[in-house]
Every structure is written in C-alpha cells, then in structure tokens.
Symmetry: C2
Subunit: 409 residues, 2 copies
Amino acid sequence: MDIQSTFESLDKKFTGFGGLEQGGITRLLYSQEWNDAVRELEKTFKEEGLEASFDDIGNLTGRLVGSKYPEETILTGSHIDTVVEGGHLDGQFGILAALAAVKYLKAKHGQPLRSLEVLSLAEEEGSRFPYTFWGSKNFFNLAKKSDVDTIADAEGIKFEDAMRKSGFDYRKTTDVRNDIKAFVEIHIEQGKVLETENKTIGVVNGIVGQKRFTINLKGEANHAGTTPMSLRRDTVVAYSEIVSDLTKRAREIGEPLVLTFGHITLVPNTVNVVPGEITFSVDCRHIDQQILNDFAAEIEDKIRLVAEANSMTYDIHLWMDEAPTLMDKKIVQIIEQAAKSNVGNQYKVMPSGAGHDSQIFAQYVPTAMLFVPSIGGISHNISEETKIEDLVKGIEVLSDVLYELAYKE
Amino acid sequence: MDIQSTFESLDKKFTGFGGLEQGGITRLLYSQEWNDAVRELEKTFKEEGLEASFDDIGNLTGRLVGSKYPEETILTGSHIDTVVEGGHLDGQFGILAALAAVKYLKAKHGQPLRSLEVLSLAEEEGSRFPYTFWGSKNFFNLAKKSDVDTIADAEGIKFEDAMRKSGFDYRKTTDVRNDIKAFVEIHIEQGKVLETENKTIGVVNGIVGQKRFTINLKGEANHAGTTPMSLRRDTVVAYSEIVSDLTKRAREIGEPLVLTFGHITLVPNTVNVVPGEITFSVDCRHIDQQILNDFAAEIEDKIRLVAEANSMTYDIHLWMDEAPTLMDKKIVQIIEQAAKSNVGNQYKVMPSGAGHDSQIFAQYVPTAMLFVPSIGGISHNISEETKIEDLVKGIEVLSDVLYELAYKE
C-alpha cells in the first residue's frame, strides 16, 4: 500500500465537500457540505474495514479492534470542519493522515494488540457559530446545552435547528470513555518555524497558554493645529510607548513568548484631531504559566504607568486566560524517536502557538501532537499548503507512533 | 452705545439662522438658513447706515464711506458659514464683532477719514461642498468655475444649482479691488493656549504652514500564536517606533511645532493576527517654513529608516503642503498696542495653528488677526463658547485697531 497515493486520493475526495472553485474549502458545522463529508467518511471507514460510529453530536470514529487488549484504545484524528475559505489541510489532514496510517498498518501488520481508532471531530474552529471545540468538548462531556441553545449563525439559523437538520442531537449520556490510552493528533504547523529552520516534523511538547486583553485609554481630543504639544493628552503617543516598551521586553524575555497588538480603534480617527481615545488588543502567549503570568503583570504595570504619566484614564480587560497545556512526555518521546528514525535531525521539538483539539484531550488522556510544515506559514486561507513529501513524512511518522502504541506490548 | 448689549442682540438674532435646539448652528453655504442670514445681515447693515452690497457669489459688505480718503478702505470681518453642528462664534463672531465695532466708532467718532467696511464672507469651512475658502478666494478672483462645477453636496445637489437657487452666480468680472489698505479679522482661538495662560487677547503674528502626509507600511500578516517575534514584520511595532521617535523630536524642536498622528487604518485589524499593513496620517505645522521643511525631511527619513530596518515597503504621500502666512507687521503692532491699553499684559503674541480667511487676504493686502479665548479650547462643536467679557474685550480692542487705521491720518 502506497501512503502517498492513498492520502492523495482521500484528500481529493474530501476536499470535494465544500471545495471552492478557487481552491480551499468552506465546510461549516452542520452545513450540507459538512454533512456530506461525514457521511462519506463513515462509508469510507466501513470500506476500509473499520467499525464506524457516530456519537450523538456528530463526532465519528472508525475502529480497528485490538486482538489482545481490545478495551485499550489508541485514538488519532482531528476536526472535519473548516473556517470560511479555509485550506484543505487544517483539520482534514489530521483525519485523513490517521486513516491512511491505520490502513497502512493494517495492510502491513494486520490486527493491532490494542484497538486503533480514527477520530473525526465535528467542530473546532467556531466559524459558523460562536462556540469552539464543540467536538472535543462533547467527547468529554464538557459542552453544555446551555452553551449553545441561544446561539445562531450569521444567517440567524439557531444552533439546535442546524444540528437537528443534520440528523444529530445533544449528547444523551454523561458517561465518558475510559478506554483511551493515548490520543495523537497530526496537524499542519500554521506557522513558518519549520520552514524557516528547514525541518520536516515538529514534535509538539505543549500548547501555549494565552492571555488576551482589551485596553482602553482616554486622553483628550484636541484640534491638531491649535493645541501645543505640551497641552495634549494624545492617546496614540501613549499607545506607541506601550507597544515599543512591551515589544522590547517580550524580545528580551525571548522565545517562545509572543506579543501581538493586532486591533486598534481610534476615536475620532481624523487626520487633524489629536486622538482622544484608543482601544487596542493585546495577545500574549507562552508555554510556561509562570512566565506568562509575570509578563501579563508587566503589561498591566506598563499601561498603568503610561496612563498615569499622561493623565489618562485606562481600562484593562482580560477576557481570555487559557492555561498552557503540556503534552504527555512518554508519547512525545515516542514521536521524537519516530521522527528521528524517519527524518534524522530534520525535526524540532516545539510548542504549538495555536490552539488545537489536543488541548481538550490532554486534560483527560495522554495526548501528543506532531506538525508538518506550512508553506510560508499560511493557514486559514485557501492558499494553505504543505509539500506532498512533507505530508507523507508526517503520515509515516504517525504510523510509526501508532505502531509503537498499538502493536507493541 | 453699549458694546456688550449691541453684540448680544446681534448674536441672538443671527444664531437664529440655522440655530439648533441643543445650541450651536448648522449653516451651510447656499442653504436656506445661510440665505436667510445673509439677507438679514444686508438689512441690518442698511439699518446701521452702511452701504450694503453683495458680490456675485454672495460675499456681503457694509460700507461706511470715509470723509477724506474714501478710496482707501479698512476691511474687517470673517465668514458667515458654519460646520455641521458648529458653534455660534466660529466665523459669525468676526462679522458681528466688526459690525458692533463700526457701530460703536460711528456713534462715538462719526465718519472716519478712510472708508470702513464690514465683510461677511460666503464660505470658509468646506462643510457642505468639498471646497474651502470659496468666499475669500472669490474676493481675489482665485476661485475658478472649474474648481466647483463638478462638485455636489452629500445629498447630490450640485454646487452651481445650490448657488443659483440662492440667487447668486459665478464671479462675472476679473478685476480685483485695489482700495483695501488693511484687513483685520477677529476670531475665537479654537485652542486653549489663551485660557491656559490666562490671557484675554491673542495677537496673531502668522498662520502656521501645514504639511499632511498619508503613510503606508506593508510588512506581513501572520498568525499571532505561531509566528515567533523574530520572524515578524509587524507594522504596528514599526509605527510605534515612528510615532515615539518623531514625537520626541517635535518636543525637542519645541513650540510652535505640532505633530499629530490622528488617523490609523490597520489591516487586518484582528486580535490574533500580526498586523501586516498600516496606513496612517501625519499632520505637522509650524510658522517658520524652513523649520517645517526640515522637520518634514526628518519625518520622511525616519519612515524610510524604520521601514528598511524592518524589511517593509513604504509609501509616503504628501497631499497637503501649505506655506506659513505672516501677518502684516505694522498692523500686528497696532493690535498689540491696542491689546496692551485694554488688557495690560493679559495678551499673547502667537501664531494661529488653524487656517483662516486671513491667510488668503494676506497674500494681497496688509492683514492681521486677533483671537479671543475658547473655553476648554472647544470649537467645531455646539458647546463652543467664550466668556462674554472676553468677547467684549475683543470687540473693544478691534474698535481701537479700526480707529487707528480708519480715523487717524
């Protein structure tokens, strides 16, 4: 069995569900395209000799039962939904790579000792409805009816109506599976670290914690011509000092700390008026909770100091505070070993700067991830791409990892 | 004759034309409110014994003929139009103060040696149509039919149609008056320098030159989580360096240099994406052309250096470049003397940071301006206000200046 042609044929088939003329995919939760994709995946699982089954909300598994320890399951997969005008790899690659790997292992080694299961999670992106990780959160009975029963999509279609129309329903039971011994997710990097460092495999040691703030500074709007510099309370000048100083500090603290000021609203935002008010975002991430907490405190201190020095009022609103998630050390070692034997030193142990389903799984079961490079770091875009030889290497490494976990005593 | 009650009664009457329930005035060029105001002003001029006459486009003069040098005219006034939801003083005060001063002088001293003329300019603000200084530019035959014959207001009404409906027309002759020996404009400061320094009169020595730029920087939009700081080309970080460094330089160079970054557009302007592109405005003003030119060169150098250091492309577009306008030294001296005798040391010689009709007049005739304080520096707003005692002081100083210019040999 040839991994490359198996993957390419699966990728071609599933990219058809929500595939766009200009390339890429729009496949939103419980849409027709999504429904067509999961039904076809169920059929494909069955054709490959896997026991296919949906849970209540639309997560799909394809199971190859183990010979010796059938009640111990090694799970692998990712999410089937995409963002609007997303690429063909974000999520989908993790499912199809898992399927190709299991097919390869079955063809080469027959039945595993432990059960091997391919997982298609219903939703991760939050692109149709304002709710993320619907798939993985349901897997562990974390999602509540009340989380979604009042939300609707951009067209006003209610979450529950869309779900029922797709043939799915709220989770009916509260029991959570206790048979899962490992979850392994392969994903595109969605950054350009691997490409820049000329690596083929990223061995993910954790998913960064994130804090996101909205900051408001209020100074005074004044006429740009008649107000001397000494009489101004110019919020853009204060903002610039905050951005420059905190960026310098972030660089001093060093990788993997990242700091982003991605959003600005200026009032009045007029050429000839001193900007009296600014609202801006701060996004910072690190794999170490203590370093992240310390830096967040520095952010708050800096804003307070600059605002006070400029006689401005300020508001600091921390609206996202996600803890870092560490991957399972033992599986990380297995992945690193498999990477080494497949690509030599062309791998990098690294944190994930983006969120993934694995951060939900890691709270309950031993979990780890591996990355393949993203060309130009581009993702959430129809031009998202990875070299086919890198995708294949990723599947080969995943196969070796699954072999270690499911075929060895 | 009491200056305060004369002014207050004029102000009450004319604030009625376009006056808003919540206070302030909206009186746009060639609107019904504007037309009512200029027709009433014509009537008022006649009642005060002035020869009233409109030019073709709607500038209105009220003339008190001189006894000895009737062909030498001392002109004083301002503009009758307002911005949308403007105050009752910006422009209107300059006309009504001039009328009150002339009425006072006539009552106290009779006929002047030189002719005294109160001027109501049709338009200065550019608030209805995208064209400023329509009044003063026509006064000197600077406005061309082709400047306005394709423009329209927000409701699609063509400039020419609005003008004709008001009973006015394009300028029919090319000759420019050569009888004007002086133009004096009194105006509210529209800033808070006088208030801050506890001064009653601003003696304007010039109107600042202005340069306005639109700057574009293009770096790279990246995922805020997966892109290490070292791989970013973050335009907000570059922007902040530019703002901080240039603001520091502007403060070093010192007053009256002002520098404003009033407008920002960020792309994509999203919390979790490194901002790949920024477009921002730079507005800088100074009374000295050489200092302004030198600082503009510093601005361009800084942008070039920061862009190059960050591997960004840049575009620098200078779209406004107005030269400073110096006021006539002799009239400035007369104003300063009049201020001194009325308010002692409670006056300040200062540049105007905003544009005024006087900058057009100064190109052709000896011109000067005086300011009264603006409460809180607020203008172009219905809460624009000046203490009545300051308004009266302004009219008294103006009267003394006009006396010097029109009644003295």
